[in-house]
Amino acid sequence: MATSGPLRSPQREPIPIDARAADHLRYIRETMESAAEFTAVPGWGGVAMGVTALVAAFAASRQTTPRAWLAVWLIEAFVAVAIAAPAAATKAHRANSALFSGPGRKFVLSFAPPIVVGGLLTFALYRAGILAALPGVWLLLYGTAIVTGGAFSVRVVPVMGLCLMLLGGAALFTPATWGDAFMAAGFGVVQIGFGWWIARHYGG
């Protein structure tokens, strides 16, 4: 059989040793960053947040004024942040990775926008006197934040976000008096359940 080209492939340019070593170091760093995704979300922190959410739902349901009701949930939001931040930092530290390294930073940057929108909508809806929409809006946006942030984590995290979004969607089209029950289910039961699963299967 006749061949038009040379039988031996042309010699490739040799790769400098330092470039090869740098490539190995890059590979190690990228693997570590991807692997750290498995531990980005604190499971036991989620369980603790779920428990405080159940307490908040009970307390909020006993409030007689919309202002007091909103105050209970805003306090709960601060408590949740106070639990989640150190829990995530502790877990990242235990896994020998910085909280704001690759996966942690990606999680925070994807998680933050829906939460900021949630804050703005809370203010706008409160001023407009449409508090009844808040449980649905909060669950939908928190769920969205978990889904977008969870895209860089294990599959169970975005699934938790989807569950929260489903509850949020349902809360928008049901009587306003069910709002606390929906939030107890979403922020409480869903977070406890998934938090426990994450803690058991992904190192705490």
Binding site: P16, I17, D18, A21, A22, H24, L25, Y27, I28, T31, M32, S34, A35, A36, F38, T39, R94, A95, N96, S97, G203
Partner: protein, 119 residues
């Protein structure tokens, strides 16, 4: 030709001391891509399951299994087999020897870059 290669190797080492350094004490066991990936991934996790490692390193069952066994035989990683309900579960952890080997490897690569760029 073979004789020419044998004769030219020491000359090459004199011209390129960094290349000689890497040959001298490079840990061949974790120099391989998949094994390096396993050790790196386990360095930032308390443990990872077989399936997690497989997804992370985008490799096949057989490939991962072979490389993991080599690391296990060298006591670089520890393998634990258990049952999650009815499903068998294989978990890997990085052993102290494996962590030391990774540190040595990182130092080696950094030294190599320094030596090449300074020289």
């Amino acid at each position: 030709m073979q004789r020419f290669r044998e004769r030219s190797a020491p000359l090459e080492a004199i011209r390129n001391p960094a290349r000689e350094a890497v040959r001298a004490d490079l840990d061949r066991l974790i120099h391989e891509r998949i094994r390096l990936g396993i050790v790196s991934a386990l360095a930032v996790n308390r443990s990872l399951t077989f399936n997690e490692l497989k997804a992370l390193l985008k490799t096949s069952d057989g490939n991962l299994s072979v490389h993991a066994r080599k690391l296990e035989e060298a006591d670089y990683i520890v393998c634990t087999k258990s049952f999650d309900g009815r499903l068998p579960k294989t978990e890997y952890r990085l052993a102290a020897a494996g962590r030391r080997a990774l540190e040595r490897y990182l130092n080696h690569m950094e030294a190599l870059i320094r030596a090449t760029r300074e020289g």
